[in-house]
Amino acid sequence: MDIITLAEVAGNLSVIGYGLATIGPGIGLGILFGKAMESTARQPEMSGKIQTIMFIGLALVELLGLLGFVALLIK
């Protein structure tokens, strides 16, 4: 076995790009769910409403991550 090719990295740079693209939505999801939990704990009677708004926000945050994924597909 050739010693030089021992640590060869094969693959696509866009995978790293997508990894970077998930950081932003990751932070967003953290803030989103953290705040939703916090406000549910403060006002448990509003939990249904908060959950609905949370899922709308979730959908928007998630889209950002998926845009990176689609860019990877069509590259």
Partner: protein
């Protein structure tokens, strides 16, 4: 010893497992080739899913009793969920009544279509190509424009959305095109991309897990390493299957609730 393990792994990497590619989503046509009605595997799954959905709901509705049995109770729970937790929660009962059938159709169709991604034999979500979500998104687009024209009038809707009152006029040069693009393109495009990209990524992850499991357990030369590693991949595939079932529900829910929100935004706010 290390030498042999390393070599076998390297050889294994040379042969490679059958990893899924984007071509999974562009399968060859199997019926009526060359005509505009050519049917490939995904379209066949859509037809089967539609028939299953219609049969299940139709038979349940035909046999509906005043005191629901266990199965009827389950279906009614689903419809109640869409009506109360999605439509009435967002729009209120007065406005929402008109849209319950549409949103329930969207929710159940997308849910069943997504669920076919984990049903053995199909193994491909019917919403996993761009066309099907696009049809749903265009339906939503048309509905919220109709709602706007009916409740506000076309010109008042354009004025409210693109030329929001209380903004200094030079801002309109920037704001009006952005809002118009948002209304016409970004909303349906985001609905479409979210659904089909979720289904594609789910299928790819699941297929990758199972391809590696098969590869390590069956094809790898070194069984001593292959069986445990393959077992871990298989466990991953099993967990991802359960996760995909959850995602199928979540995406249907998110699509339904965003459709409701978009329609609700077309109404004048008192």
């Amino acid at each position: 010893m290390m030498e042999t393990v390393g070599t076998s792994m390297l050889l294994a990497a040379g042969a490679g497992p059958e990893l899924p590619t984007v071509n999974d989503f562009l399968p060859p046509e199997i019926l009526f080739q060359g005509t505009p009605f050519a049917i490939n595997r995904i379209i066949l799954i859509r037809l089967v899913a539609t028939v299953v959905l219609l049969l299940v709901l139709g038979i349940t509705a035909a046999r509906a009793k005043l005191i629901p049995g266990r199965w009827q109770g389950l279906i009614e729970y689903g419809i109640d969920f869409v009506r109360n937790n999605v439509v009435y929660e967002t729009m209120g009962e007065l406005r929402g009544r008109r849209y319950v059938p549409m949103i329930a159709t969207l929710f159940f169709t997308i849910f069943i279509f997504n669920l076919f991604g984990i049903i053995p034999g199909a193994n491909m979500a019917a919403t996993a190509t761009v066309t099907m979500p696009l049809v749903f998104a265009i339906w939503v687009l048309v509905q919220y424009w109709i709602a706007a024209c009916r409740e506000k009038g076309f010109f008042r809707y354009i004025r409210d959305e693109c030329f929001t009152p209380g903004v200094p006029w030079p801002i309109y040069i920037l704001l009006a095109p952005i809002q118009l693009i948002e209304l016409l393109i970004i909303r349906p495009a985001s609905l479409t991309i979210r659904l089909f990209a979720n289904m594609i990524s789910g299928h790819l992850v699941l297929a990758t897990c199972l391809a590696f499991a098969q590869y390590w357990m069956v094809e790898a030369a070194n069984k001593f390493v292959g069986i445990p590693v393959g077992g871990i991949w298989f466990l991953g595939g099993f967990v991802m299957t359960l996760f995909e079932a959850f995602i199928a529900f979540l995406q249907a829910y998110v699509f339904a609730i965003l459709a409701t929100v978009y329609i609700n935004l077309s109404y004048p706010d008192e």
